[in-house]
């Protein structure tokens, strides 16, 4: 007879593989994903969007979840990144490959420009209002400066140029074929996540969290809060800009309502909160969960956004730590159960 307790324990030992192992297996899974879904264009499309939003959401988590600055204009930096690299490609003819980094840099500088006045504000409500005002101003500008931005109609955006590989052929990134683009976005995603992971584990990341816990205490132990808050603004905005640029060159059309509209910010908040604010993997889980959910909810027709809203509000009341915290709790509870049972 099989001892169920022992089996259970053995299973749990299996689950408790080192973190590196889990991460590597996830990466391998993501690498093989197009083959697993037999190159299904729709599934790949959703996954590409989920990866873009995972970058965007994780970058908000850096400032909102780790540093504790409730910025409600993160979608604006996403939009600035999208418009900068699109306009560079359309008007100046600069390759989107360079535009991607320029977009990140310029979005980061806008982040600094917003962060500087925010430093003086005491209280999170004021930061919320400042960022709402900033987002509204950029939205109005993007609609009114028709000569530059194309106004309400927006812009058609060229795709990333094809990459010729000698002897093999050409990698087509026009978006008509999803697979090449999937790998491009996956590489960017992995780079950004690796960067964020090291950043959060570094002294800088500790400073961010210290500021979140208590600004006075952080200052009293010698953390230059001004510097680190600005750094947080810069990095998170720059990453949002990069996400915006990849979005623009994938969707191939941008408009004020699609990138500067408040609904984009709402998605960021929903993804972060449902995934787990202030945890590294939470926003990624949330980005995937919400992107897939919103597609699945299409069956509800007009009630889709109502269901989404109810889920959002219920999630924040019932599980403020998000899916990430719930998974952690379940895992520890199981482990405790087994440890108690076996000893």
């Amino acid at each position: 007879m099989i001892d169920s307790k022992r089996l259970f324990k053995a299973l749990l030992e299996k689950i408790r593989v080192p973190r590196v192992g889990t991460v590597v297996s996830f990466i391998v899974l993501l690498m093989m994903f197009p083959f697993l879904v037999r190159n299904d264009s729709y599934i790949l499309h959703i996954t590409i969007l989920a990866l873009v939003f995972a970058i965007l959401t994780s970058s908000w988590n850096l400032i909102g979840g780790y540093t504790g600055i409730p910025s409600l204009s993160h979608h604006t930096f996403f939009g600035i990144g999208a418009y900068v690299s699109a306009l560079l490609a359309i008007r100046v003819g600069i390759s989107p490959w360079i535009g991607l980094f320029v977009a990140g840099g310029i979005a980061g500088l806008f982040g600094l420009a917003l962060g500087t006045p925010c430093l003086r504000l005491k209280g999170k409500a004021y930061i919320v209002m400042m960022t709402i005002a900033f987002a509204s101003i950029v939205e109005v500008l993007s609609k009114n400066l028709v000569d530059i931005t194309g106004g309400e109609y927006g812009l058609w955006v060229p795709p990333f140029p094809d990459i010729p590989i000698p002897g093999v052929g050409v990698i087509n990134l026009s978006g008509a074929v999803r697979m090449p683009y999937y790998y491009i976005i996956l590489v960017i995603f992995l780079f950004v996540m690796y960067f964020l992971y090291t950043l959060i584990g570094s002294r800088i990341g500790f400073a961010f969290r210290a500021i979140h816990e208590s600004e006075e205490t952080a200052e009293s132990v010698g953390i230059n809060t001004t510097k680190y808050k600005l750094l947080s603004f810069f990095i998170s905005s720059a990453l949002a800009g990069i996400a915006g640029s990849t979005y623009a060159h994938y969707i191939l059309a941008i408009a004020p309502s699609s990138v500067f509209g408040i609904s984009r910010m709402l998605d960021i908040l929903a993804m972060t909160v449902i995934g787990g604010i202030g945890s590294f993997f939470g926003p990624m889980i949330g980005a995937f969960a919400i992107t897939i959910l919103l597609e699945g909810l299409r069956a509800f027709g007009g009630y889709r956004l109502i269901v989404y809203g109810i889920l959002f509000v219920t999630a924040i009341i019932l599980m403020p730590g998000g899916i990430a915290r719930e998974l952690q709790t379940i895992y520890y509870r199981l482990r405790k159960l087994v440890v108690l049972e076996t000893h």
Partner: protein
């Protein structure tokens, strides 16, 4: 050249709009002052007021003043339900300040989409409560506009008296000053929060009901109103009831005058630019020392 008549007319319009801004901002400020909460779903209660008056007055033909009362009651009830169900459980969480802000953003989205789905995306119009207009010295003022100014003033004064004179008002003031201390002397702070939130949402609904004959009612109207109420709150000092009232009239008049000089597409740009400037230069408001 802009004539003096146009300017006077603009100032009168500004006072009307300003009354509405004062009502909205006063509620927002009251909740901030007492509970430390920024309610980003505040505009949706304005929308609720507009819809209740539309159905009650335009569809069922109920007396306008009874309709106004109905919209106030509806908003009060929804306000206390939301306070009890959404906000109270979040007050005790670790990152309550960020959590509540995010929750009210979600709530605003939910209420907007509920209105959009069940009440339609049309711009609905409501008739004037009192028909006719007053003519003095060559200026025509519609009675409804006078009604708006009078009702708002009456409500704001009533709220002021409630806060200053009644036991409940004193409990609200005490909770705003020192939450734990008030609990120690036996104030049920959760009841105070319920009442505060209810007053705040009914003020917003009243504003929505009063203004809907002039502006239309539609699902997105709340966002617009919230933006304006935030500007007013910052100008008057967030948490200050008096500041919200003065700020409301100031913004209302300034905006109506600005229409004469700035193209309407740039109007929002101007008001948000002023907003940011105030935040940078006087983050605690114009009136607080």
């Amino acid at each position: 050249m802009i004539g003096i008549e146009a300017i006077v007319q603009s100032i009168i319009n500004g006072v009307v709009i300003g009354s509405i801004y004062s009502l909205c901002a006063a509620g927002l400020s009251l909740v901030w002052g007492t509970m430390g909460i920024l309610n980003l779903a505040h505009g949706e209660f304005y929308m609720l007021g507009g819809y209740v008056i539309f159905f009650s007055l335009s569809v069922y033909g109920i007396n306008p003043f009874v309709s106004l009362l109905l919209s106030v009651i509806a908003a009060f009830l929804l306000g206390i339900v939301i306070q009890r169900v959404v906000i109270r459980p979040l007050l005790d969480t670790a990152q309550w300040d960020i959590n509540i802000i995010i929750a009210t953003v979600g709530l605003s989205f939910l209420l907007q989409n509920l209105a959009l789905e069940f009440l339609g995306r049309n711009y609905l119009s409501v008739p004037y409560f009192v028909v006719g207009k007053l003519a003095i010295a060559g200026y025509n003022i519609v009675y409804h506009r006078i009604l708006i100014i009078a009702t708002s003033l009456l409500l704001l004064v009533a709220c002021w008296l409630v806060i200053k004179r009644t036991m409940m008002g004193k409990a609200i003031q005490a909770t705003a000053q020192e939450r734990m201390g008030s609990q120690l002397v036996g104030i049920n702070i959760h009841r105070v929060f319920l009442v505060t939130f209810g007053i705040s949402t009914s003020l917003a609904a009243c504003a929505g009901a009063l203004l809907s004959p002039i502006f239309m009612v539609y699902p997105w109207v709340g966002g617009l109103v919230l933006g304006k109420a935030l500007i007013v709150c910052v100008l008057g000092g967030l948490g200050s009831f008096k500041g919200a009232i003065v700020g409301g009239y100031m913004i209302g008049i300034a905006e109506s005058l600005a229409v004469l000089f700035v193209a309407t597409t740039w109007q929002d740009f101007v008001s948000f630019a002023i907003f940011i400037l105030v935040l940078i230069l006087r983050p605690t408001g114009l009136f607080r020392r």
